[in-house]
């Protein structure tokens, strides 16, 4: 019995190590390749690249993901509050109509979306990327917010209304203070989704100076590539990953509980 258990653990440990090796392999490869031929100079070359501006790509990504996140948090919490606690004509209809769009992939409407943003005069502008980033990501967040607000005891609301608080006061003084973890979840998830988005910025931006990291990868890749430049490509990819890994490390706790909140409640 004991032996059998030890054997099983050994096997499991081996499986785990094998899987971990598979996960580490690409990362190690990227590191090793990034130092080939040019050594650490590859990193320097990327930072001084004639066409690819690392800091501007990172800045753009932070601007797009950060801007979208702020908008998503504000509008999804406001709407979540209304859908959870207010009564108005068409409430259920509106809520269902919005959630029905939750699964729309960006890819399914690329050309119409491009034409629409263009006709709104928003092509090749940050705002023109933030609006669709919000539209395609906010509905999941709405679901999270509403589910959370549904769970806040009704007595709190009633007590406050008797004291003469107006809805906006109930929202800011009671609901928001009770929503710290959910707001953190929604923020971190929105940030990660928007940071990772590839198609929208590629579709809607044409000035290289506005490219976020996901679009800037191509700039590094299609430069004439000598041996050194392959190393530089990897160096660039690693450099571009660093900021999001740092954000992830700092917000790890929220991110993990955020994933769970989303999964358990919907």
């Amino acid at each position: 019995m004991r032996n059998q258990k030890t054997l099983m653990w050994t096997v499991m440990y081996a499986v785990l190590c094998l899987l971990a090796a598979m996960w580490i392999y690409p990362i190690v490869i990227a590191f090793v390749e990034s130092f080939k031929v040019g050594g650490a100079g590859n990193y320097e070359a990327v930072l001084n690249h004639p066409r690819f501006d690392y800091w501007s790509a990172i800045g753009n990504s932070f601007l797009l993901a950060g801007g979208s996140t702020v908008v998503i948090v504000i509008i999804s919490s406001l709407a979540g509050f209304a859908f959870a606690r207010m009564r108005f004509r068409g409430r259920n209809f509106l809520y269902r109509a919005l959630l029905a769009c939750m699964a729309i992939p960006v890819a399914s409407v690329v050309t119409p979306l491009f034409a629409t943003m263009n006709d709104l005069g928003l092509r090749d502008s940050y705002v023109g990327v933030i609006i669709p980033l919000v539209a395609f990501n906010v509905l999941v967040m709405l679901l999270l917010m509403k589910n959370h607000f549904d769970g806040i005891p009704q007595e709190l609301v009633e007590a406050a209304t008797i004291d003469g608080a107006r809805p906006i006061g109930v929202f800011t003084k009671i609901f928001l203070p009770l929503s710290g973890p959910v707001l953190a979840n929604v923020s971190v998830l929105s940030f990660v989704y928007c940071w990772n988005e590839y198609l929208l910025p590629n579709l809607l931006l044409s000035s290289e100076s506005k490219f976020p990291v996901t679009a800037a990868v191509a700039l590094l890749q299609y430069e004439r590539m000598s041996q050194e430049q392959i190393g530089q490509l990897y160096a660039g990819l690693i450099l571009m990953t660093i900021p999001s890994v740092i954000v992830y490390l700092f917000s790890q706790r929220y991110l993990q509980s955020g994933l769970t909140a989303g999964a358990v409640k919907s």
Partner: protein, 434 residues
């Protein structure tokens, strides 16, 4: 005309969305029509060639002659990216003042936004080789673009130093091609780094190959709908095409290799391949001042270019045609039109043609112009230029197919990749029959 149903519908869209747009649209572009108060003109020129460096030389020369005109050049990374950007600009109603245009099955789509050359080029268009004008004529018979450069297929760029190291000679026929390839593989090198993931390049190679079977016309008849795609010469050519992949002339996974950047950068310039099939424009890489080899593993090697040897029943000849032409936006008028007209003339039959031809990125479309090369160039480079020039002069068939099917380039590329990966040639080709 320029307002589509779609655009009109958008203009009438929900007031909420529209007002939101107004908030942010205030800072948008527009307003600037390119003519300043002092009468100086700025023109936008969009294209995928020349490279930014080459463009600077050409534009500097033009602006020196015409101080009132500024050319704002916006180059894209390769033709594929360029077309995507151009599509978006056209859809946005912002056709560039001057834009590069490719001949072939998609020509009509882009020629729709171009000014008829009658309007601006009538005086000097006969300075261009007359046989080139056919391919820049729309199906309605309008000559909609000015040919600037010609190119031909199929050639290969090779590493002479590596050939010498391995003690190999350039192949002269199919047998020697197989032998050279085997020797290269035995020495641990990729013989011919083929970029067959790009539909256009697979097409170029196959069009060239198909002219070596039957009377050589089969592929043009099939494209125009007069013949069938599974005609005997085409099937024979497709079988030979598949053999090149199966017999190790091309590298493993060639149908996943793009010509740029992979075949060029990861194989030839990485010194892992003996040679790379490509078009005549690549003879530029053999010259000392070229922009491609510096910094690469073949920097100190001697590169050369030669026509692919005969692989079919008939003697191989290059297929050639207009590689690059420019169109002027149909919306140009007044001083901008005059300025654009000057620039087009400069590029097509003037000094610009000579400067560009000297880079060897393409061959001159104008009569009586030929590249002026420094005599200090390496003999292999000089010989390569000569061989390629002669091969183009000797070309009989066009490089690009014209067809009712404006997606033919991509469709044929897919069929060729499937055949290279083992699909039955006749059945595959038959899927192209309309």
């Amino acid at each position: 005309m320029r307002t589509t149903p779609a655009r009109r519908r958008v203009l009438a869209a929900g007031a909420a969305t529209a007002s939101l747009a107004l908030l942010v649209a205030g800072c948008g572009s527009g307003g600037d029509d390119g003519v300043a108060e002092d009468g100086s003109v700025t023109l936008v020129y969009r294209s995928w060639i020349p490279t930014v460096d080459q463009a600077a030389d050409i534009i500097d020369a033009f602006e020196a002659e015409n101080p009132d005109i500024t050319i704002q050049y916006e180059g894209a990374e390769g033709a594929g990216d360029y077309l995507g950007e151009l599509d978006n600009l056209i859809l946005a109603g912002e056709v560039p003042d001057i834009y590069g245009i490719q001949v072939g099955s998609a020509f009509d789509d882009y020629a729709e936004y171009a000014l008829d050359t009658e309007e601006y080029a009538a005086d000097w268009i006969d300075g261009i080789k007359p046989e080139l004008l056919d391919s820049v004529t729309t199906s309605d018979g309008v000559v909609a673009a000015v040919p600037i450069l010609t190119a031909g297929s199929e050639f290969y760029l090779y590493n002479q130093t590596l050939f010498d190291e391995l003690g190999l000679e350039l192949p002269t026929d199919y047998e020697s091609l197989l032998a050279v390839s085997e020797a290269a593989r035995a020495a641990g090198y990729t013989p011919f780094a083929m970029g067959a993931a790009d539909a256009w390049h697979a097409d170029d190679f196959f069009v060239w190959l198909s002219t070596q079977f039957g009377d050589g016309e089969a592929i043009y008849e099939a494209a125009s709908g007069e013949g069938s795609w599974d005609a005997e010469p085409l099937v024979a050519a497709a079988e030979r095409w598949a053999e090149l992949f199966n017999n190790g002339v091309f590298q493993e996974g060639a149908t996943s290799t793009t010509i740029y950047p992979s075949a060029r950068d990861d194989y030839l310039l990485a010194r892992k391949a003996l040679a790379m099939p490509t078009g005549s424009w690549h003879v530029s890489a053999t010259l000392s001042g070229n922009s491609e080899t510096p910094g690469s593993a073949v920097e100190d090697d001697v590169l050369g270019m030669a026509p692919m040897p005969t692989l079919g029943d008939n003697e191989a000849k290059a297929v050639s045609g207009v590689d690059y032409s420019i169109a002027l936006s149909a919306e140009l008028e007044g001083p901008k039109l005059e300025a654009a007209q000057k620039f087009a003339e400069f590029l097509a039959v003037g000094e610009g043609q000579q400067i560009w031809a000297n880079t060897m990125q393409g061959f001159p479309a104008a009569e009586g112009v030929s590249a002026e090369l420094s005599a200090d160039e390496n003999p292999v480079a000089l010989e390569s230029v000569q061989i390629v020039t002669d091969a183009l002069a000797d070309a009989e068939f066009p490089r690009k197919l014209t067809s009712e099917n404006d997606g033919l380039e991509n469709d044929l590329g897919v069929v060729l990749q499937n055949i290279a990966n083992g699909a039955d040639p006749a059945t595959e080709l038959a899927t192209l029959n309309m």
